[in-house]
Symmetry: C2
Subunit: 417 residues, 2 copies
């Protein structure tokens, strides 16, 4: 279960109610016209899970594999990595996952050095099918491991891409297994498509629960049972001049990659030129508690009042490690926490920080996960995707494209041609 609570300083009057109703109608309309297909991925991707599970059951090679390598960048890796980072220490029998994203030689060398070809599945993910970083890394893998993609090693390779992309044609030509990304699902909204579902299922995570959670959130929202999403979108967008930034403060190290996924989703979707030619958008910032209380909190507390803050909190963690009942001579003042668990400490820090920020008159909201399981993470992903769509709708922009990154790609090509 996910719980939402906001401490926004505003009154929802009739005008805002009407505005939210209008936004709701527009998003229903968008969904019905299939402008984006992510809304239905909770159901649409279930057959992919079954296909992969059958593949695992029938392939001794996959069963023996211990590593799933994802070659992809941006929307092709961030969501998958976020989910893997959350669960990798909760599933003892999950396969190791390696993400080859950046064309950084040191990072790449280190990761490649840990790969045993005979025990690895290589998944190439590129929506456009022509991502230069991804294809270059794939070539390096072919060369380094003498990966015979044309024949005897092709069972170790999977391509995930748009139907009819260059990568699709390549994979089809050599009989490499291929999964398509629905045309109307953009990279940063694609984690619940084959992009995330294939590697995560292969690695051993409960992707059905993930999809069910997402599906539940989407259905509930469209049944008007998650009205807080409309409120939050309305608050964020109508206050965008005043609060151009949203800080996601997550209280668990394993959520760091989730905040990176959120940064891409929010930043790349909402940073756009609107219908009137204006530059609009909201800037996402990710931080981890309690570490970043010792880093970014001062700025939130006393700096310009230009941020909203969203806390992500875990409840009922497995409470295991008690802070030992040890008194250190001269440091007795620190004994107040003895006997509590570290989780109680971090939870207390989250609450204390939240209260102190609210006392400053800063607009805060919080999302509490009662358990860290796939179902809840599926809900959380869909929650943020819906919130992004709602904000985009209100801002009169195309939430799903990214024309601003094209110029850099053209300049890059010219540099090497």
């Amino acid at each position: 279960m996910l719980q939402y609570k906001d401490y926004f300083i505003w009154e929802i009057d009739e005008t805002i109610e009407a505005f939210m109703n209008d936004t709701y109608k527009k998003i229903v309309d968008e969904k019905e016209h299939k402008v984006s297909g992510y809304y239905a991925l909770g159901e649409d991707s279930l057959p992919i899970v079954d296909t992969v599970l059958e593949q695992i059951a029938s392939s001794e090679f996959i069963q023996k594999c211990d590593t799933v390598v994802v070659i992809g960048i941006g929307g092709s890796s961030l969501g998958t990595k976020a989910i893997h980072s959350i669960f990798k220490h909760r599933h003892e029998d999950a396969k190791r996952m390696l993400f080859l994203e950046n064309p950084d030689e040191i990072d790449l060398s280190q990761k490649l050095a840990t790969i045993e070809k005979e025990k690895t599945i290589f998944i190439v993910v590129s929506k456009s099918g022509s991502t230069i970083e991804t294809l270059s890394i794939f070539k390096e893998i072919i060369s380094r491991f003498s990966l015979d993609y044309k024949d005897k090693d092709k069972h170790q390779i999977i391509a995930i891409t748009d139907f009819d992309s260059a990568l699709y044609k390549f994979a089809q030509h050599y009989g490499i297994q291929t999964y398509n990304i629905p045309k109307n699902v953009g990279g940063r909204f694609s984690v619940l498509s084959a992009v995330g579902i294939v590697p995560l299922t292969l690695a051993g995570y409960d992707t059905k629960a993930l999809l069910n959670g997402a599906s539940m959130m989407s259905k509930n929202f469209f049944a008007l049972k998650e009205k807080h999403l409309l409120e939050k979108a309305a608050f964020f967008t109508t206050h965008k001049e005043q609060y151009p930034m949203n800080v996601m403060f997550s209280y668990a190290n394993c959520l760091e990659d989730f905040t990176k996924w959120y940064v891409q989703l929010w930043g790349e979707s909402l940073g756009k030129i609107d219908k009137e030619g204006e530059n609009v958008g909201l800037t996402p910032i990710g931080h981890i508690g309690s570490v970043d209380q010792h880093s970014f909190l001062q700025l939130i507390m006393e700096g310009p009042r230009d941020k909203t803050v969203t806390f992500i909190k875990l409840e009922n963690f497995e409470k295991k490690i008690k802070i030992p009942n040890i008194t250190l001579k001269f440091i007795e003042k620190a004994d107040y926490i003895n006997g509590y668990t570290f989780n109680e400490l971090i939870d207390g820090e989250c609450e204390a920080t939240k209260e102190s920020i609210i006392q400053q008159g800063i607009n805060v909201d919080e999302i509490t996960l009662d358990k860290l399981n796939e179902n809840n993470i599926g809900k959380l992903i869909m929650y943020y995707e819906l919130l992004t769509s709602l904000c985009g709708k209100i801002l009169h922009i195309d939430t799903y494209n990214q024309p601003g990154v094209e110029l850099g790609k053209q300049i890059l090509m010219k540099k090497f041609n």
Copy 2:
């Protein structure tokens, strides 16, 4: 060598020149009055290196140790971790470093599980000597490893803290080796004090080169040979309403922790209530290229014009891995990069992204490191510390305190008392 270049869209007229001269005088005055002591750490910390080197030479235990554990959070760990992350894959014989920062049970359990007590030096770092997360984790280590800090294991422990703090008294009482942090050096400015120098020297890094680089930067600045620092500080602060955010875009994975150090330094130093009671500050945001071109770039390019962007670029990397001359059928379009190195690709991406951002009329500057060595990183650290002090001076704030984080600490204590 570090090279600086800015593409700021402004004219430096006589008024700004006078303003910069005035700022320079004020910072000289601040230095002479020893408001902060970090300016001189490049020289002041050299004896610490010698002490540690002697200690290593005379201790068989330290020579045999393979792990340096730093127990600290915020300013007590971020800088040390940043430097370790940059160099760990460049020094084959460096000891492993482990940073125990967040009281996150999963993260903590994982890291603790990799520690072999007999081969580990434990360094407890807390400026105040009473940081609750750090002391709680230290207690857990005492309990889990039966660490006899009173007697037979005390040679494995080092305390780094303010003179006369609770931790100082504790360590002195039991004869645990203690290094002090100069009173006038705050946590986030302390990486070149014992805080960073002791663990990094123990781990095997060239901390003399680090200090020499810092010293050179500081001396050059005060000899008015680094005027770009004054210009940058003047530009950032006089445009703070227009550009409240600075994005540091670093083009190497190993710089990710450095961006986190910068985020603390910049955010916690400049996010303050000024003399007139106004909330001022500049928001730091860290990103890594080329990965985050696929995430945050769209927002920079088409979103609100509220950001300056600083590129950190590495030149003359070890050029090793060539992108193989492989043509993949149907994906021939990606062949333009074949035969170049991955480093050339990432460098090209940095240049292309920079050019595309400049074309949008966004204010950009860049710092180029000709080599990734300790000397250059020492310079870079001092560069950012000086820049922060200059901005703080212009904003009429106390750059070196952090009163805003106290409220949360008080609320936390009440929760457990």
